[in-house]
């Protein structure tokens, strides 16, 4: 999302076209990140290589993360669960209301910041620390559960839900995240409050229908894209909520419990690929004079599309290309592992190792959105007091402003590099741990992991490159 305006502006220039101005009039981002300096890039790349080396050489010889014991800590009362659900529904309602009734200036309306900053970035961060808290606040799930509870009280016999189709797996979630990324990174009206409200309502509606047909839990675990997305990140957390009970576990040990059915590998590739495209689309390689996007756009204009549509097509191609690239790299790693010892199909290997991509995906999210969260997140202070942008001041904070100096460019760089390196190390650890289970002979396990090592180094280098050279 960062630099979307800048991107659009550059493209319009590159194609020497007068695009409709209003559509590009505002982005949420006031301050963007400076590219990571070369020396830091070199250090980070070096540390990645060393971490990988030592990890393979000296890390644990026996699986340690596969079957850990969780400790029960606390069970929340039912009332708290109801309260959280009600809060979720209320927050959703206010956000939608702001979208429809508020000013259509993106930065002064509550909904763009809620969707792109609080929901999309804030929840993954919170989840990492506190476990899957979104489950409790999820408005559509809370609504469905409320209705189900009322129906059971009313004594009406609710028909048993259909069995959730196994072949469908997490494909709906992968599609959801891809579509969301498309809206965020490609669609010209991405910041339009009314359109965001319509899309949010539409999404909630689809979830309600899905939950009605297939049952609340099976649907939420597989097809509710955002629930699935947040739950994946929560697997890295040391806190684990099961029903209303809180357990603690070693960090990362949740990831091996991932049931990787159909659609799970594509989902993770979409997660990593779309954020990569966000990085790529900020750089001059993509948008600069003579960059790829203006060139592509011109080609589609020559085919008779309007400048705006041609721009969207160019960006769509870029988005899909990055998802394809990430899928390809992972696939190569899997094929490599397959060559070490026959006995497992590539599909099975691909699914058994895909949980190692979760920390990589989270690292990408942190590296790309940390500053957005820190800066634009502050906008919530005045947006909650004046959600419609009409001058009201509910909590006396309507005049608050964003302090862009809470963390400087140096701080952001270190967070980005630290996240990528740590994510890389965690991914490697998970893959190594799984290899020890999959391959009976430790020798095979180690050999297979040279391939995963290559995959991880490729992803981390890609991430670093996107934050440095590509962003010049």
């Amino acid at each position: 999302m960062k630099r979307r305006l800048a991107v659009a502006g550059t493209l319009a220039l590159g194609a020497a076209l007068a695009l409709p101005a209003s559509a590009l009039a505002h982005g949420l981002v006031g301050k963007q990140d400076l590219p990571i300096p070369r020396w830091l890039f070199a250090w980070a790349a070096t540390v990645v290589l060393v971490v990988s080396f030592v990890a393979l050489a000296a890390l644990w010889p026996r699986p340690r993360l596969e079957h850990v014991k969780e400790r029960r800590v606390w069970t929340a009362p039912v009332a708290l669960e109801v309260l959280c659900g009600a809060l979720g529904i209320a927050a959703f309602a206010v956000t939608i209301w702001a979208g429809f009734s508020g000013t259509q200036t993106a930065t002064a309306n509550l909904i763009p910041t809620v969707v792109y900053v609080v929901f999309w970035v804030g929840i993954p961060f919170t989840t990492l620390l506190l476990g899957n808290v979104f489950g409790a606040f999820n408005p559509w799930r809370a609504l469905a559960r409320g209705v189900a509870w009322l129906a059971s009280r009313g004594g009406s016999e609710t028909p048993a839900p259909l069995p959730y189709p196994k072949w469908l797996g997490r494909w709906p979630a992968a599609l959801t995240i891809l579509l969301f990324a498309w809206v965020e990174l490609v669609y010209v009206n991405r910041d339009d409050p009314t359109q965001l409200a319509i899309m949010a309502l539409l999404y909630a509606g689809i979830q309600l229908v899905g939950m009605t047909l297939y049952g609340i839990e099976p649907w939420t675990r597989n097809a509710d894209g955002f629930s699935v997305y947040f739950r994946l990140f929560s697997m890295l957390s040391p806190l684990h909520w099961r029903d209303r009970t809180l357990y603690t576990r070693p960090p990362l040990s949740g990831a091996p419990t991932l049931d990787a059915g159909p659609g799970t590998v594509p989902l993770l590739c979409v997660m990593i690929g779309t954020v990569s495209f966000d990085g790529l689309s900020q750089g001059s390689l993509w948008t600069g004079t003579g960059g790829i996007a203006p060139d592509l756009q011109q080609r589609f204009i020559n085919l008779g599309f309007s400048g705006e549509v041609a721009l969207e097509i160019a960006f769509t191609i870029g988005l899909l290309f990055m998802v394809g690239l990430v899928s390809g790299v992972y696939r190569l790693g899997v094929l490599g592992m397959h060559s070490v010892r026959a006995g497992y199909s590539t599909t099975s290997l691909s699914r058994r190792f895909v949980h190692s991509l979760i920390p990589i995906a989270l690292a990408y999210v942190i590296a790309h959105y940390f500053s957005l969260f820190v800066y634009q997140g502050q906008a919530m202070a005045f947006l909650v007091s004046d959600p419609l942008g009409d001058g009201s001041d509910f909590f006396g904070t309507a005049t608050a402003t964003i302090n862009y100096n809470v963390i400087g460019a140096n701080g952001v760089w270190y967070v980005q590099v630290f996240a990528l390196v740590l994510g890389h190390a965690c991914g490697l650890t998970l893959a190594h741990d799984r290899a020890l289970v999959v391959y009976q002979r430790v020798r095979d396990a180690t050999r297979s992991q040279y391939w995963m090592l290559a995959v991880m180094v490729a992803f981390t280098s890609l991430g670093l490159w996107l934050l440095s050279a590509a962003a010049q």
Binding site: R3, L5, A6, A8, G9, T10, A12, L13, A18, A21, S22, A23, L24, A25, H26, G27, V29, G30, K31, Q32, D33, L34, P37, R38, W39, F41, A42, W43, A45, T46, V47, L49, V50, F53, V54, L56, A57, A58, P61, R62, T289, Y404, N405, G408, A409, N410, R441, V442, R443, A445, T446
Partner: protein, 159 residues
């Protein structure tokens, strides 16, 4: 446990030696990188003296100072033709703490918006405005022709 990893002691030592080698190479890379990678802005970062009103409209917010004017350093200029930046989006490089100054000459009437710092000034058709403010926030900022939704410059403030 050593055997279960499938690595002998010699192999382990070799790996750790390899790690050291990589670290050393990385250190050398670092040396090479920091020579040319750290500071790149100089032309635009000279003294903070302030020439008086340069364009046809004067600065109206409190950012312009009233010091006497010695030889004014060159002020980078962004030219706007047909609501677009002539020659592509202009790069403006400064360091944090510098007095940031640049001029926008435009044939199109609009409001110029410096994001992040949130400074806005109107420019009449065929006129110009000069921005001058303390570079108190590092980062990369869009300078935009507000009502056209067109970026005209990219302001980099290095830490």
């Amino acid at each position: 446990m050593a055997e279960r990893t499938g690595l002998s002691t010699v192999q382990r030592l070799a790996l750790i030696a390899g790690a050291v080698v990589v670290l050393v190479v990385g250190y050398l890379l670092l040396q090479g990188g920091s020579d040319n990678g750290s500071k790149n802005s100089s032309a635009t970062t000279s003294t903070a003296t302030q020439p008086a009103a340069q364009g046809t409209t004067t600065a109206e917010d409190g950012t312009s100072s009233t010091t006497a004017k010695p030889a004014p350093p060159p002020v980078p200029t962004v030219r706007v033709v047909d609501a677009k930046p002539a020659g592509g989006i202009k790069k403006l490089d400064f360091n944090k703490g510098d007095q940031i100054r640049f001029r926008v000459v435009s044939d199109t009437a609009d409001e110029i918006h410096v994001h992040g710092y949130d400074l806005m000034k109107d420019v009449p058709a065929g006129g110009s405005v000069t921005f001058s403010f303390k570079g108190s926030i590092d980062g990369r900022f869009v300078v935009e022709l507000e009502n056209h939704g067109q970026q005209i410059a990219e302001l980099d403030v290095a830490p």
